[in-house]
């Protein structure tokens, strides 16, 4: 890998920044459409679990502007968009398994006409008993996939022998992605019977497969393209295939372009969310709080189908350790089937929930012992040379957390802050303050090894301009910017000289989802491979022209250089390209990458699934109002490990943005279903993601300096998409710390998540009741 070239390493802006701020960046709904384009809307079920006795669509068909209506029986091919288990019908076929499930697709001249018509269906249905909670599903042994168990050592014996023992239960809610651009697809029929689908998707290849199967076409007849998304966060990994496939089926049937865009309420009702989790645990520990044995029943609400719930729950299990060595562990993972929307990928992919559980255990242990939770966290940290094997058998070789935590404690002055907070709380008054430092260790790679591959295609045109295409998608994370930087560095041109084209299944096929934080690791390396191949070819050509060995050719400033016959020679890329074209040397290069050194045995839940780990730690301070439970984030300090950053501005944006998204998950974003299983929070009026006003007055983020990735990644950088989200656990624990100031020493805090004002006040009441009971 090249040595870093500082001149090109600076924080270049997002490749589309000028288009974003000018309103000229085109998203799928902004693309010019053929004149006869029809617009779709979905008719959705109003019951959580029901048998459809009669679906009367006569009023829908008769509504103004309606062109066509499709039901399950109208689908020419597979009625499925479930990627792993084929259990997700595009349109319900007689059985409704969640409220909001699509029953039919109406197509009309305008979006509003389609939406109006979609509400005119007369549905006669027989309600069936609905499972609406994790506990109800457990009681009914209702699973989307069989339970999975992980065992290391003898947890029960270790607990029995431990000086202290504690039981607990904790729960954390789900989260809607709330990408600002909702689900949308535009399908344009092609003259050869194929279809060209523009979709807002993190996974063009899966959309291609689902569309092809729904139409009974070969994959090669389906082209899926995505230039950019208005946010993804995992919500556009498996979900877009539903919208794309229905649009494509309708487009072929009508031989007209079809746009299917979900308005916000439909989007939130129809599409999956982050999995809610709950855990019942028993811990055995010593006087320092070291966990000697731990048993956990880790149950998640997968909703009505499998979707990605298998790998999500696997990742939750694999992150049940977070940063801590668990010598004796027994964990049982329950993948509960309920009659709610099928939960799906969301930034962190089960990792946040696994870490939520172990951090709650650590906090409860610390409170029980009357110790500072930071001391207990440190006592349990993985070592660097010992105590460094995970519960799934991977040896951790890159643990920088001791350094990260020490640095954060020093820079944020934890001891003084702790003393100030404690003094404030002792003084009484209406407010209490809380402080917490939590670490993050997050495994990088898809758990399934075969997904860790990528392709790229680089073209040099005869005028010297460069075009890179790769399998990754741009959802705002800056992937296209980073890949352009990677290619630019090979030819030593500015990143703006490298054009990045839309993700397109006709250019780079068989791609993995842009997910698991892997975008720049995989596609950056594939692009580097392509760029080096092309440069090598050009170097040979130039060497031949100059009569020097190929390895004597160097590249600076977008030109080849060598000393030939004692004289310096230079040739710019455009001139080289023209020479190459005349000499019939290919100006295209394909790149390919597969992550080395990873393996995984899913049956044994053992292996080396992660190429490396990304680390970070956050210190958060809050204040709570003991009269109302309202709270405010006062200060956040973060040290985060991104290896040798490809683009510090983009990485900082990922850290801050991920942190604030995690803040929303844990404090204000409350999903509420009513007793009939209807989602009550399906728009921003009722579902509250953070606003600018939730920013803490002090927000200090440091990229861990001088810490190149030990693994041979793209320019020794580290993945940054998901790990920072989990830094927000510090806020949740700071809230627990504030509540704990009201409880007697030795009593753990019960605070549900999201920690809304109501949740905090409930915890305050419990803490005060415990204090009153103690007196």
């Amino acid at each position: 890998v090249n040595a870093p070239r500082p001149a090109l390493d600076h924080a270049v802006p997002h490749e589309s920044a000028a288009l974003h701020v000018g309103g000229t960046a085109r998203y799928t709904d902004d693309l010019p459409v053929p004149a006869d384009t029809v617009h779709g809307a979905l008719g959705c079920a109003g019951l959580a679990h029901a048998r459809i006795d009669d679906l009367d669509l006569s009023a829908v068909r008769a509504a103004p502007g309606v062109v066509d209506v499709l039901v399950a029986a109208d689908l020419p091919g597979a009625n499925n968009y479930g990627g792993i288990v084929h259990d997700d019908p595009l349109l319900a076929d007689g059985l409704v398994v969640y409220e909001g499930q699509p029953l039919f697709l109406v197509l009309a001249r305008s979006h509003r006409e389609a939406r109006v018509a979609a509400r005119l269906a007369r549905v006669r249905a027989t309600a069936l008993p609905a499972l609406l909670s994790i506990d109800a599903a457990i009681a009914a042994s209702s699973w989307v996939l069989p339970p999975v168990e992980v065992r290391r050592g003898d947890a029960e014996a270790a607990i029995a022998a431990a000086p202290h023992r504690l039981d607990g239960r904790c729960a954390v809610g789900g989260q809607d992605h709330f990408y600002l651009e909702g689900q949308v697809a535009l399908a344009v029929p092609q003259d050869d019977g194929g279809v060209w689908v523009h979709a807002s998707t993190q996974h063009p290849t899966e959309v291609q497969h689902v569309v092809a199967e729904a139409l009974g076409l070969p994959a090669a007849a389906v082209r899926v393209e995505c230039r950019r998304m208005g946010g993804g966060f995992g919500g556009k990994e498996s979900q877009p295939a539903l919208f794309a496939a229905l649009a494509a089926v309708a487009a072929r049937r009508l031989d007209r372009a079809v746009k299917l865009r979900a308005d916000r309420d439909d989007d939130m009702r129809i599409t999956g969310k982050r999995h809610p989790f709950q855990a019942d645990w028993t811990a055995g520990f010593d006087d320092a709080g070291r966990l000697l044995g731990l048993t956990v029943v880790l149950a998640s609400d997968c909703g009505c189908s499998a979707d990605l719930s298998g790998p999500v729950n696997d990742r939750a299990l694999a992150h049940l350790d977070n940063a801590y060595w668990l010598p004796n562990l027994f964990a049982r993972s329950l993948r509960c089937r309920t009659n709610t929307v099928s939960n799906t990928a969301f930034r962190g992919f089960g990792g946040p929930q696994g870490m939520f559980v172990i951090e709650a255990v650590i906090d409860a242990v610390a409170r029980t012992l009357g110790r500072d939770p930071l001391d207990v966290r440190r006592a349990n940290l993985y070592g660097t040379t010992e105590h460094n094997v995970t519960h799934y058998g991977q040896v951790i070789r890159d643990n920088v957390l001791p350094v990260v935590i020490d640095r954060l404690v020093r820079q944020a002055d934890y001891p003084a802050r702790r003393a100030a907070v404690d003094a404030f709380n002792r003084a009484g008054g209406l407010l209490r303050r809380g402080l917490a430092l939590t670490p993050v260790k997050f495994g990088i790679s898809f758990n399934a090894p075969h997904l860790n591959q990528a392709g790229a295609l680089l073209h040099l045109y005869t005028d010297g301009s460069l075009l890179i295409n790769h399998g990754g998608t741009e959802m705002g994370q800056g992937l296209y910017t980073k890949v352009a930087q990677v290619v630019a560095r090979v030819f030593d041109v500015p990143p703006s000289a490298v054009r990045v084209s839309a993700a397109d299944t006709h250019r780079v096929p068989n791609t993995s989802a842009t997910a698991a934080s892997s975008g720049s690791d995989l596609n950056g390396m594939a692009a580097l491979d392509a760029a080096r191949a092309l440069r090598g070819r050009l170097a040979s050509l130039v060497a031949g022209l100059w009569h020097v060995p190929a390895d004597a050719v160097t590249w600076h400033g977008g030109a080849a250089h060598a000393t030939a016959g004692g004289a310096p020679r230079t040739m710019a890329l455009a001139e080289i390209a023209r020479h190459a074209h005349l000499a019939r040397v290919s100006l295209s290069a394909q790149g390919y990458y597969r992550t080395p050194d990873i393996h995984w045995d899913p049956k044994a839940f053992r292996g080396h699934p992660f190429y490396y780990f990304a680390y970070g730690a956050a210190l958060a301070e809050v204040a709570i109002d003991t009269l109302t439970g309202e709270h405010r984030l006062l200060a956040v300090d973060i040290v985060h490990d991104v290896g040798a950053s490809l683009n510090p501005a983009i990485d900082l944006g990922q850290i801050e943005g991920g942190f604030v998204q995690g803040l929303g998950w844990l404090t204000s974003e409350e999903l509420v279903w009513d007793a009939a299983g209807r989602l009550a929070t399906h728009a921003p009026s009722t579902y509250k993601i953070p606003t600018a006003g939730d920013l803490p007055p002090r927000l200090r983020v440091e990229l861990l300096p001088d810490s190149p990735n030990r693994a041979d990644t793209i320019h020794r950088s580290k993945a940054v998409g998901e790990p920072p989200l989990m830094l927000a656990l510090s806020v949740y624990h700071a809230l627990r710390d504030a509540v704990a100031s009201l409880a007697p020493r030795g009593v753990p805090v019960a605070l549900r998540a999201p920690a809304t004002p109501e949740a905090v006040l409930t915890a305050v009441d419990a803490a005060r009741a415990a204090a009153a009971g103690r007196r």
Binding site: P13, H14, S16, A17, A18, L19, H20, V21, G22, G23, T24, R26, Y27, D29, S110, R112, R119, Y179, L180, E181, G230, G231, F233, R264, D265, R417, G429, L430, G476, I624, L627, T628, E630, R632, A649, G653, G657, V660, S668, E670, V672, A680, T681, P684, S685, T686, K688, P690, T691, A692, G693, D694, L695, P697, R698, L699, T756, P757, E758, T762
Partner: protein, 523 residues
């Protein structure tokens, strides 16, 4: 009784410098639908279609009755197209790409996915047209109506500060040419555009058209009467017509419930309803006065309520929405009614009579009979609301609790007004929202306080008495138990605010410890 038909004319406005006359849009078309689907200006985005995410924000400029140009942020998604008649509409695509706000957003890395970005750019442009941004709290409030899911906001706030410094610098720096900076004080009502707005906004903003806007399309009629008598006549003829003021709730009936009326009557063109009159005994707010203008008048009288009003929706909603509309909407969780009931407001109801308008005056609390049931007869509408002026010794407080501080609908709100006279409390009025089917007073709590001294124990007893005044319900915003408990907390907070230890914090909202570790670093 049939109202005479008004002559039709097109909807006329200027968008991004171009004058348009729209004759083919349905009466219920929104500005956003027209921009994206008819006009092809797709830079303005739909994120929620309910005025909560801000992706559709544009700047709306119009001349007020005095000819002064006013530029405001507007949620195009719920703004009906016909209401922009006579306005200049500035979208992100009309800014040119090199506007100081746009440059600052690029320089600060303020966009990631970019979908919310046009809305932020326009909210910032609207805010900076009114003056520089003072501090982070000011910036946060300016951006309260705009959601970003990618950045975590820090770089956007930084961009707002940076653009503010450029636009409001004493000397215009290079690179910002073509955009007027802050006008000299004597030009405040002049012909120039407000700072940062293109010159055409001032030059081409249409003068009010003397012919009222009226048209019928696809079986629905629209009329924008210019005098209140015409409103009476239209409502007398069609009591089922939808009377539209700001449209920040009715817009959602259109975009979310997909309902449309046969007849629209818009109050925004009635000049006499657009006034705030500060009389000796009352502040008198007309039916077309925006929330922002009403709150500005209240801020002069009760500055301690300013933070409460700043948490009312967002700048764009407060610019479009009206105070009277909020009261007429009559939601049990509306944020204006608790305060106005506590302040003793009355409403003036009017309808057509044989000899001119028939008016009656009602205490606001008497308007609300039951859930969404009001003491109004068909054809009767609220012309004005009158709020008695501050009296000597008056103490007021208003608080709301929601899941998020900025732009959230209250779980509970509570307002209090009382007078201290000779060591005893008098004229005690406590009103709450979110605790019953209507916003209403708390007679038991008031009875505990009245006549007694302002003691902490009295407020604690009054808080307990709220149990007898309200039987709240569970819903998505809060449980019944929490609603009551939080309301009790808020009533106690009122004591701490007015009579507690000076300097001791009474709310986390905006509070910071005094220690040096909490210096602001967002800049």
């Amino acid at each position: 009784m049939a109202a005479t038909t008004s002559p039709e004319r097109p909807i006329r406005f200027v968008v991004d410098g171009r004058a348009v006359a729209v004759t083919d849009a349905p009466a219920s078309a929104t500005l956003l639908e027209w921009l994206r689907e008819a006009h092809g200006a797709t830079g303005t985005k739909e994120g929620c279609a309910e005025g909560d995410c801000g992706a559709c924000t544009v700047v709306l400029a119009r001349r007020d009755a005095d000819g002064v140009l006013r530029a405001e942020p507007c949620n195009a998604c719920i703004r009906l197209l016909a209401t922009v008649d006579g306005c200049a509409v500035l979208t992100v695509q009309g800014l040119g790409g090199a506007h100081p706000v746009q440059q600052a957003m690029v320089a600060c890395h303020g966009s990631q996915c970019g979908f919310c970005t046009p809305g932020f750019v326009m909210a910032m442009t609207a805010r900076l047209a009114t003056g520089p941004v003072r501090d982070d709290a000011d910036a946060h409030r300016a951006l309260a109506g705009n959601l970003c899911r990618c950045t975590g906001y820090r770089p956007i706030v930084a961009a707002l500060h940076e653009a503010s410094a450029v636009l409001h610098a004493p000397v215009q720096p290079a690179g910002a040419a073509g955009f007027p900076s802050a006008p000299a004080a004597d030009d405040a009502a002049g012909d120039g555009a407000p700072p940062g707005l293109p010159d055409w906004v001032a030059q081409r903003c249409p003068a009010p058209d003397p012919q009222p806007l009226a048209f019928a399309r696809d079986g629905a009629c629209w009329e924008s009467p210019t005098d209140a008598a015409r409103v009476d006549a239209l409502l007398a003829a069609s009591p089922e017509a939808w009377l539209l003021a700001g449209g920040t709730d009715i817009g959602l009936w259109v975009t979310k419930q997909l309902r449309t009326p046969a007849r629209w009557v818009w109050l925004g063109a009635v000049a006499e309803l657009g006034t705030v009159r500060v009389a000796a005994d009352a502040i008198d707010v007309g039916a077309a006065v925006s929330l922002a203008d009403a709150f500005a008048a209240f801020d002069g009288e009760w500055p301690e309520l300013a933070r409460y009003w700043s948490r009312f929706a967002s700048p764009a909603i407060r610019a479009s929405g009206t105070l009277v509309g909020n009261l007429a909407n009559g939601s049990p969780i509306g944020d204006a009614a608790p305060v106005l009931i506590a302040l003793g407001a009355t409403v003036v109801l009017r309808r057509a009579g044989r000899r001119g308008p028939r008016r009656r005056t009602l205490a606001l609390e008497s308007l609300y009979r039951d859930y969404r049931v009001q003491d109004r007869v068909p054809g009767e509408w609220i012309e004005r609301v009158r709020v008695p002026r501050r009296v000597p010794g008056q103490r007021v407080a208003a608080f709301k609790v929601s899941k998020r501080f900025e732009q959230d609908i209250s779980g509970v709100s509570l307002a209090l007004s009382l007078r201290e006279a000779g060591g005893a409390l008098a004229d005690v009025r406590v009103a709450a929202g979110g605790l019953a089917a209507t916003v209403r007073r708390a007679p038991s709590a008031e009875a505990v306080l009245v006549g007694g001294a302002p003691l902490r124990a009295a407020f604690e007893r009054a808080a307990e008495a709220l149990e007898r005044d309200f039987r709240p319900i569970d819903d998505l915003r809060a449980s019944a138990r929490y609603r009551l408990q939080a309301a009790q907390g808020l009533l106690q907070r009122a004591w701490h605010l007015h009579w507690g230890d000076a300097g001791a914090p009474v709310t986390v909202d905006g509070w910071l410890p005094a220690e040096p570790a909490y210096v602001r670093s967002a800049r």
